[in-house]
């Protein structure tokens, strides 16, 4: 079973949620890790490599946190399957490192005993010993090791204490499988008795119940009145922070793009290649990359809320509100994360115990306006306002956009939850409220970095490709005449005239229809497409390019000479973007997480159909009511 020289031995890290397992993993593997997503199976197991003090290479798996091996929720099942070696692509672990919170041995040893019973060599890590000792707990790792028959390593992983000792314990060859001394007919009772005895022997707790700082904070933050004020204040600050802090780096990116465009224009002769670089590549990607700061900030704030322990409180507070939509507080985190991006949101639904509630949460998650929609909103919203109108009006419109998406999502969740019927097994709301602590910056920054990179990578691949394709379709076949005549003659002009009848009832023309069509791969492509389709020349800065595009859009006319963008057609366009599911990666993740393409396909048809009908009602209804 132990690894041969070809394949390094595998060790698996397992532990209750909030036991600091990922911190131990990061401390062991350093930056040498990757998150594996294997298509076809539902698994998100982190893997990395480390070397023992003797230079032996070990493969390390970080399994999702779980409370027991009984596994009612999906992420727990992944952990159990990984321990049994039933996940394709991962070897059965040769050794298990069970991480427990030293201040919570009564609870966490439950899982440790179940793992030792599996018969895999085990090392027990007592993490966060500093916190335990501060609370007055007297720990005796040697006694614990003697009683359990496995090595016990006290650690303080966030400060890097105990890492060497743990690596020593992982020395190859691994220690033999311990004998299960507590095996009895009623395993549950004998485990219980053992844990009680162990805690009396090796983790003596001071008798008095102490009111910790977290308890005092919770008195305020979970208060029926002040708790809500704090919750709303925190959520408002997050969104305000994203929009106001992002402006500074966005200015730098725009300035940088302007410099590059100017350089290209100055150093290249006029021709198709220059047009490709300036209009196609820079124009297309520029409109998207500029939103990187907002996306980074959104992930940063969500990471901070999670890492500090507040997210669990938010889920607790929101449980009553979510119940009105037929969901529980556990659906809050996935839905809130979907404001950043639906993909991590959909992945986060794994912690929901009820299968039906999880399905409903996945189904509505894309309606929580994700950050990829922001570029589109920022292009359209200013067109609705006059030059001199304050930014607070823009903020109000944005707030209304988010509110519309969210309330619609809750409405659909309620209907769908009622249609799916009650759960077969009993599931109940259960949530651990971890102690508040300072955020783990290294972990948050690494996560934010991964997300930012995947956004940039998408801009460099899908969006770049589509921008070039659109540029080519808008340029060839060539003809003489004015710019507009040339565009009408090109492939895009012809595609547009085919699409036009379908989008005309919504208040759009063929060009907007084409831009919408291209944005079905990814929403933010809409901006690049509009820039390419409306032939906006790159100005010296991106801000100017965007205002040029806005001027161009404001001046755009239909074939009958009336303005293309009226307030009504702009609102219709916004409504379309609030509801349409235009993100192939999300559909792929939904298909993987629900286990079939059926749900992904239904979701796509439903959301896109809903977007079309909602947009149609807005435009036609508005016209009937006399708006223009």
């Amino acid at each position: 079973m132990q690894g041969s020289s070809e394949f390094p031995p595998t060790i698996a890290l397992i532990g209750n949620p909030n036991s600091g397992k990922t911190t131990v993993f990061n401390a062991l593997t350093g930056s040498n890790q990757k998150v594996g997503n294997y298509s076809g199976v539902t698994v998100e197991v982190k893997s990395g490599q480390m070397f023992t003090p003797h230079g032996k290479k070990l493969h390390v798996l970080d399994l999702p946190g779980c409370y027991s091996l009984r596994a009612p929720s999906l992420d727990e099942k992944v952990a159990v399957d990984a321990l049994k070696g039933e996940i394709p692509g991962y070897a059965k672990p040769d050794m298990v490192v069970c991480v427990v919170d030293a201040s919570n041995l009564e609870r966490h040893l439950q899982l440790a005993l179940q793992i030792i019973e599996l018969g895999i060599p085990t090392v027990l890590v007592l993490n966060m010993v500093d916190m335990a000792e501060k609370s007055g707990l007297r720990l005796d790792p040697a006694k614990l090791s003697e009683e359990l028959g496995v090595p016990v390593v006290p650690m303080q992983a966030n400060a890097g204490k105990g890492i060497i000792e743990l690596k020593q314990a992982l020395r190859f060859p691994f220690p033999p499988t311990p004998a299960v001394a507590w095996a009895a007919e009623n395993l549950e009772n004998s485990r219980r008795a053992l844990i009680t005895r162990l805690c009396e022997l090796a983790a003596r707790r001071p008798d008095a119940h102490q009111l910790t700082l977290s308890d005092q904070l919770d008195n305020w933050l979970l208060h029926p009145v002040y708790g809500w004020i704090a919750f709303l204040g925190i959520m408002f600050s997050v969104f305000w922070g994203i929009f106001s802090f992002a402006r500074i780096p966005m200015g730098w990116i725009e300035a940088g793009q302007g410099v590059i465009a100017n350089w290209v224009v100055a150093h290249m002769a006029d021709g198709d290649l220059r047009s490709l670089l300036v209009d196609g590549v820079l124009g297309g990607m520029g409109g998207v990359v500029v939103f990187l700061p907002q996306i980074v900030l959104l992930f940063l704030f969500i990471g901070l809320l999670e890492s500090s322990g507040y997210m669990a409180r938010a889920a607790f507070l929101m449980d009553g509100v979510m119940a009105k939509a037929g969901l529980s507080g556990k659906a809050f985190l996935p839905l809130f994360s979907s404001y950043a991006c639906a993909i991590p949101g959909v992945l986060a639904t794994r912690t929901i115990d009820s299968a039906k509630e999880r399905l409903v949460t996945i189904f509505v998650a894309p309606w929580m306006s994700c950050s990829a929609r922001l570029p589109v909103y920022f292009l359209i919203v200013p067109l609705l306002l006059h030059e001199n109108e304050g930014s607070w009006k823009q903020a109000m419109i944005l707030f209304a956009i988010y509110a519309l998406g969210t309330t619609s999502a809750f409405g659909v969740a309620r209907l769908l939850r009622a249609k799916l019927g009650p759960d077969t097994g009993a599931t109940h709301f259960l949530l651990e409220l971890p102690p508040y602590h300072a955020p783990q910056w290294s972990y948050i920054l690494r996560h934010v970095g991964e997300r930012a990179w995947s956004f940039v990578a998408q801009a460099g691949t899908i969006i770049l490709g589509l921008s070039i394709l659109l540029w080519a379709l808008g340029t060839y076949p060539k003809s003489g005449g004015t710019k507009d005549e040339m565009l009408a003659h090109s492939a895009v002009g012809r595609i547009g005239s085919v699409i036009e009848p379908a989008v005309k009832p919504l208040g759009f023309d063929g060009r907007v229809g084409t831009a919408i069509l291209t944005s079905f791969a990814a929403r933010e492509v809409f901006n690049s497409s509009m820039a390419v389709l409306f032939r906006v020349d790159e100005a010296e800065s991106d801000e100017k390019t965007r205002s040029l595009l806005r001027d161009r859009l404001a001046a755009a006319k239909r074939s009958d000479g009336t303005p293309l963008f009226t307030p009504l057609s702009l609102i219709s366009l916004l409504v379309f973007y609030i509801y349409a599911l235009q993100c192939l990666p999300t559909s792929a993740v939904v298909a993987r997480e629900t286990g079939s393409w059926k749900w992904a396909f239904r979701q796509f048809i439903f959301m896109s159909g809903f977007a079309y009908i909602a947009s149609l009602i807005v435009y036609q209804g508005g016209k009937l009511l006399g708006f223009s």
Binding site: Y67, S68, R70, P72, S103, N104, L105, E106, R107, H108, Q110, L111, S135, E188, R192, I195, T196, R205, H209, T212, S214, D215, D218, N219, L222, P224, F316, D319, G320, A323, G329, G425, A426, H428, F429, L430, L431, E432, L433, P434, P435
Partner: protein
């Protein structure tokens, strides 16, 4: 948060976590019901001390230094007795 004395609870020695007053320390005497496996996994085991911190739609209790929020239905399955 008021701190009720164990003596006040002596009147009815078998009750569920829902019936305990906020701020009371009690000992878990029995788990019964469909959710008891899940409760055990979370650490609700016989003989452990638990303090109820708040009541409401979901109640918060402190168990071995950890705060847990559980629904009323689950709390109904936790039978507790006053601390001896």
């Amino acid at each position: 948060m008021s701190h009720t004395h164990a003596a006040d609870l002596q009147i009815d020695s078998a009750m569920t976590l829902n019936q305990v007053g906020v701020g009371c320390d009690v000992r878990i005497s029995q788990l019964s019901g469909p959710g008891c496996d899940r409760l055990r996994d979370l650490g609700f085991c016989e003989q452990l001390l638990v303090r109820k911190l708040s009541a409401g739609r979901n109640l918060i209790c402190s168990l071995c230094g950890t705060r847990l929020a559980i629904s009323r239905e689950l709390a109904e399955q936790v039978v507790v007795s006053p601390m001896a």
